[in-house]
């Protein structure tokens, strides 16, 4: 069996790549994809720990995370489409109406 540490390390690397995506990309769609990547890396760590502890609860938690992520993607993309209809852009620097 592969040591749990390897999986957790891979998960940390993937999470960091997701953080970099949120920080350096300006396209709202790609920022959104990076958030999905971060959710996935957290899921990977959860499954690795569930395997190490032989506990089904970790996998049930991953199942719930996937359900919430699916709902979040549906609502978030609907928001993006609505914003695009009024602003004609997906650049997050130009969508700053709420900024004080």
């Amino acid at each position: 069996m592969i040591p749990t540490t390897y999986f957790v390390m891979l998960s940390a690397v993937l999470f960091t790549i997701g953080v970099v995506g949120v920080l350096i990309r300006r396209n709202a769609l790609v920022v959104f994809m990076s958030i999905e990547l971060m959710l996935n890396s957290a899921n990977l760590a959860l499954v690795a720990f569930a395997q190490a502890r032989q506990d089904v609860g970790g996998q049930v938690l991953v199942f719930f995370v996937i359900v919430v992520a699916a709902a979040e993607v549906a609502v978030g993309l609907a928001l993006l489409v609505a914003i695009f209809h009024t602003k004609r852009t997906t650049n997050i620097d130009e969508i700053s109406t709420l900024r004080g």
């Binding site: 996937i66 489409v81 650049n91």
Partner: protein
């Protein structure tokens, strides 16, 4: 043998993630994200989680990626950031430096942690059979499971309301 599979899959996952970051075209980004999700599904198999393997492929690689591709193509936003994709010159190195600090910090915590060192993976293949996950979902975790139903219902209602509002604004304009 399993280690070889793990290394190959991990390299594919990281490559997919980095390529998603770097590709200018949002359609390519979505497809590289699909590659990453598929690699993670294989890692779930290595972790003896067949149920999550199937769910990952169906929900992430199937539904979510299709939704992303659909919206990218609907908006025609593939290349909308060619010119102003780049941040100000000092921001990008700062972001990369902060990310490097984050991964170093995570690694430090990981290798300092005593509980993780104690954990040794056992090779009991059957602890997470789909039957056992279903039994846990419908007994111990029944209330959260019901709540996910409400979350999905709320998401459906939210999407419909958002769509109606955007239709109204576009007909007014």
């Amino acid at each position: 043998m399993e280690l070889v599979v793990f290394i190959i899959t991990a390299v594919i996952a990281i490559t997919g993630a980095i390529a998603m970051l770097l590709s200018k075209n949002a359609v390519h980004s979505a497809l590289f994200l699909l590659l990453n999700f598929a690699a993670i599904a294989v890692l779930y198999l290595l972790l003896r989680a067949p149920f999550l393997f199937a769910v990952q492929l169906i929900v992430y690689a199937g539904a979510i990626i299709v939704l992303f591709l659909f919206v990218v193509m609907l908006l025609g936003a593939e290349r909308s950031e060619d010119d102003h994709d780049l941040l100000a010159n000092w921001q990008r190195p700062l972001a990369l430096g902060l990310a490097a600090a984050l991964v170093v910090e995570a690694g430090y915590v990981l290798f300092r942690s005593r509980t993780l060192a104690v954990m040794s993976p056992t090779s009991d293949d059957l602890f997470a059979e789909p039957e056992k996950i279903a039994a846990a979902l419908f007994t111990k975790y029944l209330l959260p499971f019901e709540i996910t139903g409400f979350i999905l219902l709320a998401a459906v209602a939210g999407v419909v309301v958002l769509h109606m509002q955007s239709q109204q604004t576009s007909s007014q304009a």
